[in-house]
Symmetry: C2
Subunit: 281 residues, 2 copies
Amino acid sequence: MEQAISAQSPGATPCSVLHEMRTLENSGAYFLPKLHALRELNPTLKVLDVGCGCGSVTASFAKTIGPQGRVVGVDVDPAKVQHAKNVAAREGLADQVEVLEADAYKLPFADAEFDVVHTHQVLAHTARPWDVLAEMLRVTKPGGIVVAREGDLDSEVVWPVTPGLEKFHKLIATAMNARGKGGGGSNAGRQLLPWALKIGVPRSKINFSFGTWWFDTAEHKEIWANAMADQVRSGQVREVAVKSGLVTEADLDEMAEAWEHWAAREDSSVAMMHGEIIIAK
Amino acid sequence: MEQAISAQSPGATPCSVLHEMRTLENSGAYFLPKLHALRELNPTLKVLDVGCGCGSVTASFAKTIGPQGRVVGVDVDPAKVQHAKNVAAREGLADQVEVLEADAYKLPFADAEFDVVHTHQVLAHTARPWDVLAEMLRVTKPGGIVVAREGDLDSEVVWPVTPGLEKFHKLIATAMNARGKGGGGSNAGRQLLPWALKIGVPRSKINFSFGTWWFDTAEHKEIWANAMADQVRSGQVREVAVKSGLVTEADLDEMAEAWEHWAAREDSSVAMMHGEIIIAK
């Protein structure tokens, strides 16, 4: 499975502050009541976190379901797998959390192994997101749930709107749509419902919603602007973008500076919707 | 004050089902905890609802603050004032609710008369939204709050995307931006923060957030599609749009049919962000 490119810094560590601030509270609120209800019935829940990335949500799962529960995180990137293992160890959760390298299209588990199978900001970057959803359903127990949340980049709103930020948005959307290749992309959030229906899930088994996040405080805007500026300044992204012919090095410098100016303003903000789906098996 | 055009049916009644389904729960959740806290301290709250339109939120305020509280709704449109009065009477709230015809730029009240001054989906349709906010602050008591929520139409996401729906979105955004004339418009939601700062409110007195709504059930999609189709089929809107040269009658028919086809699909949805602001006086 491809990793998220929208907020990824390809430097020495694969994980930015922006990645590591993700928790169940800020990224999984849409299914927390359902998770708590499942845990009431069964304190030994088994959770699978698909495309677990830097592992902050994986660790958050372990803390939320309690010491009798078990969480498995999988990611295709060995560097992220190692990082997620370190996060679990640092948080004293090594007994509860296991992290493996695996392909989301072919999960290395038997049918019906997990009570909750989760993914976040992953399907948008895959070419066949419906196949990942089907695979997630396969490893879910009857009575369990598949939960997924994906950004819809086309819904992003920024204030103020400046040429550098407009160029940045266009570049990221183009890169996402090239990577998704007819599957995921910059309008993934709204497609969680059609993707679930496409693989034969009855509408009555689906709960679909939209959530939002935004950054408007000085502290959060600095985190966001740094992550965005890093994307266009750092080696790999910069090289690929320039080679593609879509932008020049001067364009990329303008984008990075635009985010820095944006973060320094008192009246600036950024917000984006996410599609959210709960599928009952 | 201009009325909302984004969901307005200019037929025999100025109020659509879409308007009348708005309540504090679905349109004011961002400030409900603050409202409950104020009511704990003072059971005789005075609330002003600016641009109250069809009065469903006005009535919802009266029910929420309880029988000792008083709510005044104002609107510039006499037909809406009468409708809002009828709603209050029908709900048995006539003793608690007063509705007046008034201009939001010149509210007919003394300084510091109200504990809570509210507006919803109104500023986006005004040319000087910051002046409305300043006027709302003027009539707010020290210790009270001004609360406002505005859609950001540019964040709207629809599935599936069809040519008729794209044309519709463009027409509505153009109409909103023409009406806002440099003030409100299709990106109003994100501007609540800059507007409040522009009139001198310190950042520390402002709580800014983004919320979302979406329609994905058959029942809700029918309500939405009917309201949208009515806009482009009914006399006034149709005439203005065609005279403007932006669209033809055939375009408008295509838009109405596109919404009807959209509503009939199982996998369709529409979602949009709103900016939300709480200003402490």
